[in-house]
Symmetry: C2
Subunit: 306 residues, 2 copies
């Protein structure tokens, strides 16, 4: 059996690709690692920015996406991709157990994950005050005190954004200057409700059910202090799940698969959709749009080649 | 009052922009022409490709989008934009009645509309067999007989797509050759369940509640015939609602506002989102993604300039 398309990954990008592919009557399988669809949203407490479904639980949203794909008859396969051959007209994907799937095209929608601090309390309170996305979760912290960890563009943009809605924002950075561009840095420094804690790291995120405070250490002076916060926004980078593909598919320095809005990679018939590709904004709705764009590109490709 | 952003248009792009802008605590108004939100989806009978909400009525989906924006407190203004000044740091939008709104940025999300044939029966049966989007509606015509009208790339791609799922596809084209590229044209010509009616136009789309048949005329021989079809896909072009902006904002030959995935136009602080901008795929989910991308670009712009 040679499929029209193999979709790797079952987050919003992969599931939307499956929805569009089934509606286009393409033969497809969708490979998912976890045996659970939804990608990062599975672990999201509440999603308030997927248009049309305000305030939905992340897990509930993942079920709605999956049910949509199921309703259209998409075939799911569980397991890890172990190897592949993507460069010929017929692409081959090999699973951990050795099973091989063949298709005329492949959509890589393997997503990514924010880098963690690996600080005590971080994992336990993830989604309960600890967040990796200010755009997604900021609005839940209106008039509260929060901390932002990081010193790059995203951290500073997050801090400026949060300063508009929160009572107080601490920016905790392990160095004594930001990597972020000067223009937004000076904008941050002008904000009255922002305090910057230079040369500092979080040692412990305190709280039983929700975040209550953070233990901070100055790594130059070794001085420790505790600050009451209700939210901790961690913005220390993001890791695309592209490791196994990097030898074959072109990526940028950070490992994102190079692909524009039409999701085309450097390899004909191979497309990258969602958080794994080079793009400005990684959100559920932009990942879903990628799934639609990728299948449209797949159809154009199949029309031209086969 | 100077707003952070004025959003013009309340389809999926404009409403998603409003959702993202409100969550970012930007001051905004959203201007809508019709006094009714939703854009083109208001008149769509059923939407089956907006991920997470399979098989929803277009009008119901438009209400869900609008309620999401309302829940977050977006302010709506009804009326037609009559003039504007977009090039300075403070943008001014003037309404028909002379009221002026000022803002630091503007998102143009005015959408577009498919060109109509203006054939008898077309308007009455729109959404009841007459469709302007094969990607959106094709799956409703599985194993049925349909007609596609047009001769450009989109028409031929639509016909190939429909041939996969429909019993029979007529392609009706007023000339004796297609404008579409050779590669996809030859692919179409090879399909067994496709019949091309050259030099032909539809004179009448018959049916009381749903499409039953079409009266076709050969414009060279004047010969008339009737064919039974359940669907008529009209793919004779699309018109962006960009007329009033074309003097100021750069557009392509077809009138689409030139803007990439980040929605930036040639004018700083002016963004184009949804069907009105240059893009590959015009779908609800890609319009919604544009709304999110546009507001992210607005925030970056406001951070840099103000």
């Amino acid at each position: 059996m040679i499929y029209d398309v193999i979709i790797i990954g079952s987050g919003p990008a992969g599931l939307t690709a499956a929805i569009y592919a089934k509606r286009a009557e393409l033969n497809l399988i969708i490979i998912e690692k976890a045996g659970l669809s939804g990608g990062q949203i599975i672990n999201t407490y509440e999603v308030d920015n997927y248009p049309g479904l305000p305030g939905i639980g992340g897990f509930d949203l993942s079920i709605k996406f999956r049910e949509h794909a199921d309703k259209l008859g998409a075939t799911f396969v569980s397991g890890e991709v172990n190897g592949f051959s993507l460069e010929g007209d017929i692409k081959v994907v090999t699973m951990d157990e050795g099973i091989q799937y063949k298709a005329r095209s492949v959509v890589i929608a393997t997503g990514g994950a924010p880098r963690h601090l690996n600080t005590e309390g971080e994992e336990k309170l993830s989604g309960m005050g600890v967040s990796y996305c200010a755009t997604c979760d900021g609005a839940f912290f209106r008039n509260k005190t929060v901390a932002v960890v990081g010193g790059g563009d995203v951290a500073i943009e997050d801090a400026i954004f949060l300063a508009r809605l929160c009572k107080k924002v601490y920016v905790i950075h392990r160095r004594d200057e930001f990597r972020a561009s000067k223009s937004i840095t000076s904008r941050l420094l002008a904000l009255e409700n922002v305090t910057i804690l230079w040369d500092s790291v979080i040692e412990f995120i305190q709280g039983d059910e929700v975040v209550k405070s953070i233990d901070i250490k100055n790594i130059k002076t070794d001085k420790k202090e505790n600050r009451e916060v209700e939210g901790v926004f961690i913005a220390v980078g993001y890791e695309p799940n592209s490791d196994v593909y990097q030898k074959v598919v072109e990526t940028d320095e950070a490992g994102y698969i190079r692909a524009g809005e039409n999701c085309e990679t450097n390899i004909p018939g191979v497309f990258a959709a969602g958080d794994v590709r080079t793009k400005e904004l990684r959100q559920i709705v932009t990942a879903a749009a990628d799934g639609a764009n990728a299948i449209t590109a797949v159809e154009k490709y199949l029309n031209q080649i086969f």
